[in-house]
Symmetry: C2
Subunit: 433 residues, 2 copies
Amino acid sequence: MAEHISIGLLGLGVVGTGVAAAIGERAQALAQRIGTPVRIDRVLVRNPNLMRSGISEDFPLTIDPDEILSNPGISLVIEAMGGEHPAHHYISAAIAAGKHVITANKEIMAKHGPELLRAAAENGVMLRFEASVGGGIPIIGPLLDDLAANDISAVNAIINGTTNYMLTKMATDGLDYDTALREAQVLGYAEPDPAADVDGVDAAFKLAILASLAFRTVVRDSDVFREGITHLTPSDFCYAKELGYVIKLLAIARRTESSVLARVHPVFLPIRHPLAKVDGVYNAIELEGDLVDWAMFQGPGAGARPTASAILADVVAIGRAILGGARVLPSPLLDEALAIETVDDLETKYYIRLRAADRPGVMAQVTKVLGDLNVGLASVIQKPVDEAGKTAEIVITTHLAREKAVQQALQQVSALDSVDEVGSLVRIEDRIE
Amino acid sequence: MAEHISIGLLGLGVVGTGVAAAIGERAQALAQRIGTPVRIDRVLVRNPNLMRSGISEDFPLTIDPDEILSNPGISLVIEAMGGEHPAHHYISAAIAAGKHVITANKEIMAKHGPELLRAAAENGVMLRFEASVGGGIPIIGPLLDDLAANDISAVNAIINGTTNYMLTKMATDGLDYDTALREAQVLGYAEPDPAADVDGVDAAFKLAILASLAFRTVVRDSDVFREGITHLTPSDFCYAKELGYVIKLLAIARRTESSVLARVHPVFLPIRHPLAKVDGVYNAIELEGDLVDWAMFQGPGAGARPTASAILADVVAIGRAILGGARVLPSPLLDEALAIETVDDLETKYYIRLRAADRPGVMAQVTKVLGDLNVGLASVIQKPVDEAGKTAEIVITTHLAREKAVQQALQQVSALDSVDEVGSLVRIEDRIE
């Protein structure tokens, strides 16, 4: 046994610096909890001359990835670079070189996770990625270990803190989308280019990972139906409240006997649902299992220190496995053959908001289109919009209906002369345990 | 390697039957997830002739514990009897005989956990107890593994579903204590003798376990300050609401550099606190750690299937460790030397409700007593109680104060001629992240 576990760290940005600082400040506690010391022996950076606060001058920086990937002394590689390239290549190379790997990289795990896990198993090494979903919230571990006896049937999650913050502000302070976004940017919760968050890309990466592990099958980010929050208006939040709902960007994956449907989009959620109470930048993941019924995990979904918490948990797990003499911790098997459903197959309830001429017969036209396609109405609200009384806002909620039928109906409705605009379509998730 | 992992099950009540049924119905999935089959080869019962639904006739029942404890073929013992005796003796004997042990027994882990964990380590076997706290909610695993890199500073938990159900009904439906208890009993949430729940005994067992693991020290149930919910009245719930709080029976453990204070009692919790939103029979455990900041775990805290979920997670973990060739999973070390504080050392805010004569000068007397003991007032409400206007209810909230001073003040206040009764003292926990 080596006298310490030697780590190569790829990247020294926010996450990498957090990991280096956390390992440094708790070296003794980690050694005690693992049973042997761990040490960062090499750090790959792009610019070794950059000033970095909290990183001492004698930190072993390098610009040559081979000093880590081809270094026989390093047994564990922590990838904290982010992005697909070249991180994907480095992770593959580390696994091929027989090194254990920890990554926080949701994009790589969503796109290439199944192949990397197989490669890790074939090479007798561990690949762990607790930090890739939910920041510091334990979720990969509970899913693979603590709930291992369950057949998981559903994942319902708030896994993008930026959009949850924006939606909370839009609901509680009545902000419009642009104002909420600016506020999130000022606070550092949203990037200058917010697309990855507000379009649901980030959440789709994370959902692909969760769905794959939960259902033991391969779900890629490209399998996830995705719709962002950019089209939501203050009036949607007013109607949601009036109807007893809050609006959340949910990541939802459900399996049937033979298939999986994974989707990220805004939903109307009953105010009493546990996820409806999760406000601000926090994340929460709810799992439904046949034994446990449900369990929910909540906490900070991002940030340097929470992410370091997750990465260091993986360091401890790998360290203990090495020290305990285990061959390796088993890789999750993604061998269930489940078909990927499209959102067309979805059956749920819908909220529809549209603007139409405020004259007799219009409502009849709209509801006839829906009725002809078997979309049953649960409630209808009609309100005049302008002083002249020429335009009305019509808000419809439906009973359970097929997405495909609803989309067809909306096409036909928007083609009606009397209808100006279909403003919003939001799916309603009103199943509460 | 044996062709299967052979289990001896102690007890076939609600939990034992749930475990037997769950293992039976998912034998193949478990074999796949562990890497080898598991099988229950012997079940200890008191009465083998009892009819048991869901248990087949050829189930290998025995009334002789030695058929399990002295059976060299059995490598894993699951204790699902409950109660301290004789379960404690059986667990000790199983460990001494070199068998891995899984227990759902909070009483035994709270009273004898440190000794049993040491014995397990010395005998090279694993002792796991995920089901002892929070039913199906993953919490022991996350605490020992997923948050292993953190220094945990606080545990705040709703870990008794019975009392949380009762408090929810008292708050939302205005029920008094007796009515809420009867309703809980009718629904099967409360026992005919409810003392273990309503007096906080059950929660104190669980908190002792959580605090020990969180702070890596020995906290026994006898170290936990404990106060139940029997003295709460509908008016306390009205005042709580008026002041922006909900009432929860919380299990709270906090550590300082050198000491631990663990306590179970009703608290006033700000309505916006994540734990304030946990209603009904559910459990939720919030942990504060230096890296993760906080994480909360929520779900069903009891029931045969959720408990089976937790026990089977331990079966999978032990099975994988055996199969992976690990020596054993490490036992948690409880070697931090921390002093146990008493509740006298507590500094928090307080809600005090008392009845006094409704005449000039009484309020001055009461507030002088508090002031002389350095208990600062945050708010005072005085309301007449009877038609004649002879008695008033005085409700006081304090700033941060020492428990010892507050208790002294209340003794002096209740000795005042003008004061009829000190009705309630409830501690206020208003730190929100």
